[in-house]
Each structure stands twice: as C-alpha cells, then as structure tokens.
C-alpha cells in the first residue's frame, strides 16, 4: 500500500498538522524520528538484481515497506539514540554506521521529497542562496562575507554607511548559562571604530534596503503562498524576528517576474519547500534576502489562513497545484 514517510522530531507540532492533513485525505503515513533508531526502530532493507530497495522499517506500533514509500517529508530529526554502555569510540562508529545505513537507504528512495536532505543541506548556505537568487534574476542586496576588517570598512564606505550585519549561520548560542541570539543589526559608525574580532570567523554584511514591509513567501512545490509582514516597532523594522508581538500580516500576490525567479531558484537547488524572505521597498521592488529550506511556517498559516499544511500534504501525495 502506498505510504508517506515522515521523518521529524516527535515534538515538532507543525508536522502533526501535516500528518492530520495526510490522514484526513486517506493517506497511509509512517512517522519516525531518527532518534528511534536503533532501539525502537528496526530496519531490514534488501536490494538485488530483480528489484530496488525493499523490506521493512518497523516500530513497535507500525511497519512500512520501503518499496511502498511514495513520498518523504523530512524535517530536522534528532540524532540516533544508541544503546547505553557503548564507549565513545563505539558510539561514534555506531552513529556513522547508522547514518550511512539508515540514512543511506532512506536518501536512496526514488520518490517525492519535501525536501531531499542533501538538497536541503546544500541550500542552507547563504552564499549559495544569494548566488542562485542572483542567477535566477532576483534582486539581492550587495553583500560582503569576510574576516578582514579593511574589507568591512571599504564596504561600509562604498554603501555610505547603510549597512547591516547578521549571522551567516545559526544565530543562537548558550554561554554563561544564558540563551542569547543575534538579530540583524544596523551597523553604526561606533561599531566600525572597533572591529576587533572580525578576524576570528566569517562575518556577513549587507547593504540596507529601504522597506515598506517584508514578505514571507512559503513555496510548496508549484504553490506560492505569500504573506506581507508589517513591522509595528523600530526593532521589528530592522529584523521582524526580534519583535513578533508587533507584527501584522496579510496575504499577498507575487509579481510575475519574482514568481518566475523563485520557481527557477527552487528548480536549481532541487527544493520542493522553502520559506523565502523578501523586502518590498516603498517603490514596490522585491529584494531577496534568504530562503530557508526547513523554515517555520505554522504561525504564518495561523495568522493569514494560507493553507500551508494542506499544500505540503498535497505535494507529498502528488496533487497538482
């Protein structure tokens, strides 16, 4: 029987919404988290000259045959939970075997993917996002990636001081027993006076783009689900993630040229889902900032009514847009 394989953390509640949409539509679903392997999830896959990968993935509660999997929804699963009693070298060895074995057999499935993990990983890199967006005809802000303070000063001069900085990877850390995050920051003259620490790692600077509002564009297959994000505070005007409470939303349409660029972007990076962030300038021009191949979407659905969970379920089942 055809089945959709869902690989996500058990407490990823937006995935529950996708499961509900799938099962309401009559789909057979097998949900797992990689943390269930190897203790609560068994794998017995076979391949030979006669047929491709087949055999069972099984939990104590249900079973799916690899040959029956027609689609996979892959969303930030957890590390393998290996048996207690292993030494650290044994754990590292076992984790690598699990990744290559379970991960290898799953990624070899020839079916619909939202998203294929290797495509998703590659598409996480902001430099690739910007280069791809540019090649696809989307407007992007001038951007500098550097660990060189002279390059920062030249960039800031070139852009007459209208520059932001933001992390190029995860913005969150826990240090000194405190959780901290780094939002987009408008660079000031005082910031540039002391650039000690630039040389310690890669830093990303971008030209500030005047904005009327921003757009969160959730792309699912051929479906473009766009929401305007209006900032209600100065903090949110610089980075809307810094002040969710001030935000208001409304659905919007994507201009044809932007839609064509976005479809090209998704095709080039092999993605079937992404959450893209755009700035819309007072003159109506759309500027691409980034595209999150595993982005959050549930709050946008709730705020706007955009049917994102249903779109993901439809994409997994091959329902045309």
């Amino acid at each position: 029987m055809p089945a959709v394989l869902v690989i996500a953390a058990h407490d990823d509640w937006p995935t529950d919404r996708v499961i509900k949409a799938l099962t309401d539509g009559g789909a057979e679903v097998f949900r797992m988290d990689t943390s269930e392997f190897p203790q609560d999830l068994t794998l017995a896959g076979r391949i030979d000259a006669r047929r491709g990968w087949a055999g069972q993935l099984a939990t104590p509660h249900r079973t799916v045959d690899l040959a029956d999997i027609t689609a996979v929804y892959y969303r930030a699963p957890n590390p393998f939970d290996l048996p207690a009693g292993m030494s650290e070298p044994e754990k590292r060895f076992a984790a690598a075997q699990a990744r290559a074995g379970l991960g290898g057999i799953i990624t070899a499935l020839n079916c619909r993917w939202v998203n294929h993990p290797s495509m998703m990983s590659r598409a996480e890199y902001k430099p690739l996002q910007l280069a791809t967006a540019r090649a696809c005809g989307l407007a992007i802000p001038p951007t500098l990636l550097t660990n060189c303070s002279d390059a920062v000063r030249r960039f800031v001069d070139d852009l007459h001081g209208n520059v932001i900085c933001k992390p190029v990877a995860s913005p969150v850390l826990i240090e000194d027993d405190q959780l901290k995050t780094v939002y987009t920051h408008r660079v000031s003259v005082a910031d540039i006076d002391d650039l000690r620490g630039i040389e310690t790692t890669a830093h990303l600077f971008q030209g500030w783009v005047d904005k009327a509002y921003e757009v969160r564009l959730t792309v699912v297959g051929d479906r473009l689900l766009a929401a305007e994000v209006h900032a209600g505070s100065d903090t949110a005007h610089t980075d809307w993630r810094a002040d969710y409470a001030s935000l208001t939303y409304r659905t919007t349409e994507v201009p044809d040229d932007v839609a064509a660029g976005v479809r090209s972007y998704m095709r080039d990076l092999g993605l079937r889902f992404a959450a893209l962030d755009f700035i819309v300038s007072p003159d109506g021009a759309w500027t691409f900032l980034e595209a999150n191949p595993c982005g959050q979407w549930d709050w946008i659905e709730h705020a706007t009514g955009l049917p994102i969970a249903q779109a993901i379920a439809d994409e997994l089942q091959g329902v045309p847009a």
């Binding site: 869902v6 953390a9 058990h10 407490d11 509640w13 937006p14 529950d16 499961i19 679903v29 949900r31 104590p60 930030a76 699963p77 957890n78 590390p79 990744r99 290559a100 991960g103 799953i106 990624t107 993990p117 290797s118 998703m120 990983s121 590659r122 996480e124 900085c165 933001k166 992390p167 990877a169 995860s170 969150v172 850390l173 826990i174 240090e175 000194d176 027993d177 405190q178 959780l179 901290k180 995050t181 780094v182 939002y183 910031d191 002391d194 650039l195 000690r196 620490g197 630039i198 310690t200 830093h203 993630r241 969710y244 959450a275 999150n292 191949p293 595993c294 959050q296 549930d298 709730h302």
Partner: protein
C-alpha cells in the same frame, strides 16, 4: 579517505540543537565581532506550551488534559524563552 556525510543526512547535533555551556564570553580579540550584538531574547513574547506527550498510534502529540490537540493550540513562532534547560528549536534550518 572519506568525506563527511553529515550534510547528506543532517540530524540535530549531539547534545541538543543549542548545546548548553556555562563558559563566559571571552574578550574582544578572541570573540567573534558580531556577538557584541547578541542579546537575551524577550521572554515575555514566548508562549507557554501545553503539556503533551507523543502518541505513537495517532503519530502526533496529545495533551495531558482534555482539550484540542496540542498542534491546534499553539501557532507561535519559535521565540526563545531564555530557558537554557529546554531551548526551543531554531527559528530556521536543519543544522548539524
């Protein structure tokens, strides 16, 4: 020689998505410059999540008390609440 396969099958890192540390920040010569702008998120905007447990039969979380399923009760984006023992998922990304 083999290449690192983590990017081909990315999982959350060992030790949690945001590893805990009690190490304090270092000085300006060794600390990444952008971390000057790191701040503790506004915990007042965090959402208290309902108590829930994963139901392997339904394949989704269910509340410990009567009421709608947990996914129907919360739609909040991932606003960190400052709890270092139970940090929320990252806003974006698979990350490994």
């Amino acid at each position: 020689m083999t290449v690192d396969m983590r990017d081909a099958f990315p999982l959350a890192p060992e030790g949690g998505r945001i590893p805990h540390s009690t190490e304090p920040p270092t000085g300006p010569d060794s600390r990444p410059w952008i971390l000057r702008f790191a701040r503790t998120p506004d915990a007042s905007q965090a959402t208290v999540l309902p108590l829930a447990v994963y139901d392997p039969t339904l394949q989704m979380s269910v509340g410990l008390f009567d009421g709608p399923l947990p996914f129907m009760q919360t739609h909040s984006p991932t606003v960190p609440d400052g709890n270092v023992k139970n940090p929320p998922p990252l806003d974006e990304g698979t990350k490994d």
